[in-house]
Symmetry: C2
Subunit: 442 residues, 2 copies
Amino acid sequence: MNTSEFRRRGKEMVDYVANYMEGIEGRQVYPDVEPGYLRPLIPDSAPQEPDTFEDIINDIEKIIMPGAASPACTELETVMMDWLGKMLELPKAFLTEKAGEGGGVIQGSASEATLVALLAARTKVIHRLQAASPELTQAAIMEKLVAYSSDQAHSSVERAGLIGGVKLKAIPSDGNFAMRASALQEALKRDRAAGLIPFFVVATLGTTTCCSFDNLLEVGPICNKEDMWLHVDAAYAGSAFICPEFRHLLNGVEFADSFNFNPHKWLLVNFDCSAMWVKKRSDLTGAFRLDPTYLKHSHQDSGLITDYRHWQIPLGRRFRSLKMWFVFRMYGVKGLQAYIRKHVQLSHEFESLVLQDPRFEICAEVTLGLVCFRLKGSNKVNEALLQRINSAKKIHLVPCHLREKFVLRFAICSRTVESAHVQWAWEHIKELAADVLRAERE
Amino acid sequence: MNTSEFRRRGKEMVDYVANYMEGIEGRQVYPDVEPGYLRPLIPDSAPQEPDTFEDIINDIEKIIMPGAASPACTELETVMMDWLGKMLELPKAFLTEKAGEGGGVIQGSASEATLVALLAARTKVIHRLQAASPELTQAAIMEKLVAYSSDQAHSSVERAGLIGGVKLKAIPSDGNFAMRASALQEALKRDRAAGLIPFFVVATLGTTTCCSFDNLLEVGPICNKEDMWLHVDAAYAGSAFICPEFRHLLNGVEFADSFNFNPHKWLLVNFDCSAMWVKKRSDLTGAFRLDPTYLKHSHQDSGLITDYRHWQIPLGRRFRSLKMWFVFRMYGVKGLQAYIRKHVQLSHEFESLVLQDPRFEICAEVTLGLVCFRLKGSNKVNEALLQRINSAKKIHLVPCHLREKFVLRFAICSRTVESAHVQWAWEHIKELAADVLRAERE
């Protein structure tokens, strides 16, 4: 949507809200629809080509408003998570549609998704061990529980361990910053020998530091064999999996118990919107379920409806699936794929500019929209370069450490970025690099 | 703001966003301001009388935009939490302004606030006990930890206990559904004798079931004396404390370590916005703090800035303080007080209608906007009445159980509610009650 259409449509929406407020006394306080009303009213997958804004607004009045906040909010979320799951070609076990055991939920952030997965895994392993040995206390089990992630995993994984009250161990990543079978197996062997109970593994697809990918095809089967919950965190990279040429990066997700990525990062859906799927809904709800009278309802035990409050940390929820519905329809799958492809192409364009300059090096494989690079030389000179870049305030880079190296990260992430911006940024960086190198020689 | 002004202002805002997008290349990518820039630019408390919309928008361009998302998002939140704390006359120890140790943060929901408080308390007690007895493991301590709340507390408290992996015990409330000293002390004595470690108490001001108030003046000193963290959950009732005539309900908050209520429930701020204060910021950050390179910044250890990511479960955050700023200024404190008072007056109006009808009884003291009532008689007849009311879909009531009684809850909660609506609802309820009683006799 260009700016002039945004002006027009935005103002129409303001009127829509105002009209709603003016006419609110004419609306029913509780909907007439029955649970499950929504799914038959909308297509079972996202459109390939864009829909018009009129079509979407007409559907709001026709499909959403009669379902009020409840059950429309829940049911649209379930269907949108199925749409998105299909866009990623997630295994059917993660979808809700065929009355399976899996399903998707919108969390606020990948941190919450990791925590929710860890808590579900914790409950599951405690129940399993107590079923086998009823004399074991929860505390006696928790003391021995150990979770794993790569040493490149996001800090929120360590935080989930802290909150969940379980040990979290970092598995040394390989030369490509990926978690591999051998390192994981070594840790498992050592920890089992020490009497610990491995129960949870977070594999990252697209790490924050350098967008590296843990080896799911190696790690997944180990988790299944060893009865450990596998959570796959693809917070950033997940959006790219809607493109067939990047889908192979998700191979191995079939071994996972839960999978998460953030459409708010790279799929044009506004913050916050973190998409999480599980293979067994009952694993989540088992960890959280409490039913006081004031939250009971007439469809409580019918199995017809999804009580998302049992899937998450907070009780209340916003109607976040609406923005997914709008974005998926306004762009169509093809439009979203084109958006991803453009960003990846621009990052490769930046990569090739870096490679053409012998003073610089690329520090990790460029797969998606992130380029890790640095001046050949000391950390000090790179820290100086970063400082100059960020002080100039023309572009903004966030650094990282890869092993002992201080590395600059060039991320393509604006909706409106073009080749001209990338070219301009590189000229700017080169100029500041020259200043830094000159200052160093003096 | 009436609907016609909303139409005008809403459309101006659409243009503001569109203009921003069109002019974005002219804006600096990183702000020039220094940490702490914002506080001197705005008043140190909320206005008593409403500001105009023009004034607010002018301040956005003048005060917020130069501070970009960071640090404006953080700094406005800190100041808004001080404004709101002052509106409630919270003890100064909870405010940030005088470089004290306390401060406020916006959480997504009261559930999250309770969980965050419980986790902070858990970390604190573990550290304290390990400092005294270094041989104690975390698991050995956690096994003995016990938290308390009234048997009327919200289910999210029990859930926080589940997530935090600690026992949570319900203290029997008194005849007014309040937690009192004697019942708490009895539980403490029993549990200490059994070798348990009491560490955390949630006191509720305005329970979900019947808006009862735990006795803070009794419970608070016990918590302080026994070294237990006291968290005060006033999710619904908290908004009323901005009125001097209701402020006494908050007396005893000076004994608390943390306090929370939801401006999104009754203070005209859109969902989600849950306001939480602590007396010691370091208690929260100590429970969560992790600092990877990609989240470090140049003011890391200066003490000048607040890293809210250490105060909450998620890592990312939205700019939720903006809506507080708009609401507080558009209404002024007096406007907000008038709004609360009107609701309380309407609930008393409903109460007196119920009291005039000898077939009905009031089931709990009416203090704020909730009236618990029922037909004198069996639970069955009241369940039938509720079913008729909700099936008619003219109004919607959510029931509860008070001890053995099934009770109907009439809640005043719409922004636009008037006496005429209350009168109409009562006539409607009486009519359906007559039907129910007739059906029972037949």
